[in-house]
Point group: C2
């Protein structure tokens, strides 16, 4: 099945208690594709500057990622800098240079327009809507957003949400979007906006999935002993989730549940190293073994 | 199997965004017994003042709770007051009047001394050690503690931990006790102190159990839509955990896992109402149904 992602490609400068990197490969579309491409071919749409080393994406090409939708423009690539606190839960953004990303207008190549699975990474909701207008009848659209858009572009966000089946956001964003502290109440409010499935990312506390009938599925985060850099965890999670669904082909609750665990699996690899290092050359065996660790961590007998 | 709990009986004055109560039944031993007594007879040790209405514990008596270890002394019962913030995660203690609890010296009645399962609720570690000295060869001892004792009575705490199999604490306490931010590293450090099983309570984020071989089991918190008062959730959790183990009789990893989910089940009921209201007259069916909700929200197929 065909899987499209639209989002940022970036060069990140990150400092954590465990080290630092400068101008390292990053961006939502990159993390997403790095995780998703283990499960499904990915079609990528984004923009880089003429300073971007195209060879940095060779590992994605080797895993059937279609880069024809990645535009190269005159100017510099989007750069982001951040510093994490000692427990890795707090983060301070040191700079955001949008550069060529500032005027990003997603152009969906003709060969991408029949994509069945679509992930709209965290960009402006008008652009997310514009992407959907260029796609013919997708089977499943998932969307990520952030406080910035909920604050500043709420009506555009509400508009695009009407065409979205899966909303993937963190707990504070779910609260802000719905105006509800309680996540169950937040889910009820969000289901009225369009989405049929809410995934609440809770970082080190895992991810809660709420179905439209207000039943739940929960995947913990893997308790890692070595954890270097949380950057990209959410997008790697989304990549594993959507990649698995695209591979599975059929959409049903059991696939959503396993997809949530695949997402958590890929996020757990992501944070073990800086940038996408850990996501470059995982083996199928490593992924299955980690997935089964999640299984062992959660299984018990009912009454 | 016989289950002993030593800890506080209190009258709580609590305010949350959903209401308030004054001098309501509370205390660690009360919450623990309220949950545990659905699974196993409980022997309770604690102290109340002469202002305590003994009839308040009739519901526990009716569920085979032995109250002969609850001393009544001249003076007032331990009183605690707290106010919760809008998201129920932050709590401010408004007063702590120890009253008769200040000079509490646990005396274990002769009939209690062969107790096989022992829960040492959060009291001074010297008193916890004193309890263990009065018990003959218990099968399983679990202990709760808090930042106050880790700060002020660390050597006494380290001493009693040598005789404890299960440590039940929250994440910040595990970090403080071990000096490690990372919970896996914290567990390794704590295993060197005596315990063979670490349960990290994470409130609304569930509970992580770490076995001595550093394998994991995770139970989420139930996503409640109606949640009135988090007071006592941790002790209700411990009560469900120990009550289930005492009922099961045999100690093995599968029982520990189900016990963790029973603990989470009882905590989820506790927080639905103020004080112990929700724990007074649950039916077996309600408990099994909630337990099976946890099962449905975590089960998936491995690779």
């Amino acid at each position: 099945m065909s899987l499209l992602v639209v989002g940022s490609l970036a060069l990140d400068t990150v400092k954590t208690p465990f080290g630092s990197v400068e101008d390292a490969l990053g961006g939502a579309a990159v993390y997403f594709s790095s995780a998703a491409s283990y499960f499904s071919p990915v079609k990528m749409v984004g923009v880089v500057g003429d300073d971007f080393d195209a060879a940095a994406l060779d590992y994605l090409k080797a895993r059937n990622t279609d880069l024809r939708g990645v535009e190269t423009r005159n100017g510099k690539t989007f750069r982001w800098g951040g510093v994490y606190g000692s427990d890795l839960n707090s983060r301070e953004t040191t700079f955001t240079h949008l550069n060529v990303f500032e005027s990003f207008q997603p152009k969906i190549p003709a060969e991408y327009r029949d994509s069945e699975y679509v992930f709209l990474a965290n960009i402006g909701p008008e652009l997310q809507a514009d992407v959907l207008n260029q796609i013919q009848g997708p089977k499943l659209v998932a969307l990520d957003t952030m406080n910035y858009w909920i604050d500043g572009s709420l009506s555009a966000l509400r508009e695009v949400l009407r065409s979205v089946q899966v909303l993937v956001i963190n707990d504070s964003e779910a609260q802000q979007l719905s105006g509800e502290w309680n996540l169950v109440k937040a889910a009820r409010a969000i289901f009225k906006m369009g989405p049929e499935l809410l995934i609440v990312k809770k970082g080190e506390h895992g991810a809660l999935m709420i179905f439209k009938d207000v039943s739940f599925f929960y995947a913990p985060a893997y308790p890692l002993e070595v954890l270097h850099d949380p950057t990209g965890a959410g997008d790697s999670f989304a990549g594993g989730f959507m990649g698995y669904l695209a591979q599975a082909g059929e959409i049903n609750p059991d696939h959503f549940k396993r997809a949530l665990v695949v997402g958590s699996t890929m996020a757990s690899f992501c944070v073990e190293q800086f940038s996408v290092k850990r996501l470059v050359d995982l083996s199928q065996g490593e992924i299955e073994e980690r997935f089964n660790e999640f299984w062992r961590m959660t299984q018990f007998q009912p009454f």
